[in-house]
């Protein structure tokens, strides 16, 4: 089901947690809400669920105004960061819970509930563990029970709050891939909250980057990474260098020399140059480049990270080179950004 959030504002005792947020989620989409803590991403998720109500604004499920409905009526599936499993119930009872508490008119027969719960446990690869209690499961297993429980009510939308936040790195990676598979198989409209950019970029169809109660950018992982539209997104996603430059006659200048990058159509004046460490080309010679002295080099997996001192204030720049390119300390390196963006204050 498609979900539309329209002009939502949310205040907690006068502190604005969300400020005029609008978001269209297409049916069957897998959306990540990404941002640092305090950015309002969890509040937005809880507003969609109906666990919070907006100070202003509306949430639509399809064409229906869901903000008039309680959380119980919205028929959503919510997966909590700390699983929130019912510890006195078996795995099977946990998954069946949402169906067994329905009023008798809408409640499936006992055998049917059991069958459906077992199918879901099969889907989340927990067959055979239905008689266990939550205390007898690992963290990853508990999170999968929580997901099965949320899916059992056939929700309009599946909402996950930092679903892998409490798990260790290895399990996280596995579950990430597995969640994508489940999503592709079941087709639930899914929104998940994360502060981990790798998780968001790897998993989501579209990423919503949030900061300070506002949406900074919405886009596919490629768009978000390759064409960030604000200094915040540039800084928050991936690594980036920031250099103060000057635009003069369609050329970028640092102090008194041109760096050989043409910026046609940009107005003259001071600006901040943003570029990623790997979006560069190495150059020989002195003119039309950024040059600096190597201060530190580090080998990180498949690349070599080189820190350069290019002189002046804000003079530290990090670039990524192929590992076979060995640079010794204090040697001189010249380069030019190939993909970059200018922001002005």
């Amino acid at each position: 089901m498609e979900v539309r959030v329209q002009n939502i504002r949310k205040e907690f005792s006068r502190f604005p947690a969300l400020n005029d947020v609008s978001l269209d989620i297409r049916s069957g989409e897998l959306i990540a809400l990404l941002g640092p803590s305090g950015s309002g991403k969890t509040t937005l998720l809880r507003l969609i669920a109906g666990l919070e109500s907006p100070t202003e604004g509306t949430v639509y499920f399809g064409n229906e105004d869901a903000s008039r409905k309680t959380v119980q009526q919205r028929n959503i599936g919510f997966v909590f960061q700390h699983y929130a499993l019912f510890r006195h119930m078996t795995v099977l009872d946990n998954v069946s819970f949402g169906l067994t508490i329905r009023p008798s008119g809408r409640r499936p027969a006992k055998a049917e509930i059991r069958k459906r719960a077992l199918e879901l446990l099969d889907l989340v690869q927990l067959s055979g563990l239905e008689k266990r209690y939550p205390a007898q499961l690992s963290g990853g297993q508990r999170q999968r029970v929580a997901l099965a429980r949320a899916m059992a009510v056939e929700p309009n939308v599946l909402l996950l709050d930092e679903p892998f936040g409490a798990l260790d790195a290895q399990v996280r990676k596995e579950l990430r891939r597995w969640l994508r598979e489940i999503h592709d198989r079941t087709g639930h409209t899914t929104v998940f909250v994360t502060h981990d950019q790798d998780e968001a970029l790897e998993l989501a169809d579209r990423v919503v980057v949030m900061s300070k109660g506002k949406i900074e950018q919405i886009g596919t992982p490629d768009e978000i990474y390759d064409t960030p539209n604000s200094p915040f997104v540039f800084g928050f996603i991936g690594q980036s260098n920031i250099l103060p430059v000057r635009v003069e006659n369609g050329q970028l200048w640092i102090k008194d020399h041109s760096i050989g990058v043409s910026a046609q159509g940009e107005a003259d004046g001071p600006a901040q140059l943003y570029f990623r460490p790997h979006d560069i080309e190495l150059l020989e010679g002195n003119g039309g480049c950024i040059a600096g002295v190597v201060t530190v080099t580090r080998r990180v997996a498949g690349t070599r990270h080189v820190e350069l001192d290019i002189g002046g204030a804000n003079s530290r720049v990090e670039i990524e080179l192929p590992p076979e390119k060995v640079t010794s300390d204090h040697s001189r390196v010249a380069f030019r950004p190939t993909r970059w963006k200018l922001f002005r204050d």
Partner: protein, 285 residues
């Protein structure tokens, strides 16, 4: 090899902290002197009675009635305390209202108020001419000087046990669990009755057991309000005192032994249920 067997049978694990011998020595000698020797004296005296004498004393009709009254009223009082104790704990944990702090502190009154004082105060209140008794007696309801009076005294005495065992567990309930139930469609009543209360069961059971055990042995607060009619409202501890005053030591010993055996057996069963619950659900209280 020898080193390994030695460590297997080691009495305590090595530690750099001193004073183990002294501390354990003081503990054990005090425990043996004050608790174990006197209690084993009771065991020795009752076994010296011989089985048939013991059986005759224990199955005396007045004794049986007294035991039945003690255990029965303690059971009912503990049940009442379970219901109101859970409500009281819930109200104290969940709601804000004027005077909450004072009420929270008052819950411990039965721990702090000497039982004799509680006994005469409750009697004064619930006697037919008392503040509350006088309101009830026109309706034909008698509380003081009946087994109901015993239950009232035991409710007072056991009140803090359920509240104080349930309260901390209730405070720890993760709000996410309630929200999870709501997102799955459960209304508030279903959330409380099917998710929250079952989760509290081990704590409630512990509170019940403590209140019950305390009620069975209670003496001071009961004797004033009970009326102490043999066969009807005479509790077992009082019968022990009566037998002692008659210098009928064998009878007193036998009643005491029966009470202890039943109490310990119940505590053992409850401990086993708790251990089982902890193994299964990963929590207990």
């Amino acid at each position: 090899m020898t080193a390994r067997t030695a460590s297997l049978w080691q009495f305590r694990q090595p530690s750099v902290i001193p004073g183990f011998g002294l501390a354990l020595g003081v503990t054990l000698s005090w425990l043996i002197l004050i608790i174990l020797i006197p209690l084993s004296g009771l065991a020795w005296r009752s076994s010296a009675l011989g089985w048939s004498t013991f059986w005759a004393l224990a199955t005396d009709q007045r004794t049986i009635n007294a035991l039945r009254i003690s255990f029965g009223t303690a059971f009912v009082a503990a049940l009442v305390n379970v219901v109101f104790g859970v409500i009281l704990a819930w109200v104290l944990v969940r709601y804000r209202f004027p005077g909450k702090r004072i009420i929270d502190a008052m819950v411990d009154l039965p721990f702090a108020l000497p039982t004799a004082v509680a006994g005469i105060a409750l009697t004064t209140l619930y006697a037919p001419n008392g503040w509350i008794g006088s309101l009830l007696s026109p309706l034909g309801i008698k509380i003081a000087f009946t087994p109901i009076g015993i239950v009232f005294a035991l409710v007072f005495v056991g009140l803090p046990f359920v509240v104080r065992t349930v309260q901390p567990i209730m405070e720890e309930i993760d709000k996410e669990v309630e929200e999870a139930a709501a997102t799955l469609g459960a209304n508030r009543f279903q959330t409380i009755s099917r998710v929250l209360l079952p989760g509290l069961a081990p704590a409630v059971l512990t509170g019940f057991a403590l209140a019950f055990a305390r009620g069975v042995g209670e003496y001071g607060s009961v004797i004033f309000i009970a009326g102490n009619l043999p066969y009807i409202s005479e509790i077992a501890p009082l019968l022990i005192v009566i037998r002692l005053e008659e210098f009928n030591y064998p009878a007193a010993t036998a009643i005491a032994a029966v009470m202890l055996i039943i109490s310990f057996a119940m505590l053992l069963i409850i401990n086993m249920i708790q251990a089982w619950s902890r193994r299964r659900y990963g929590y207990g209280a």
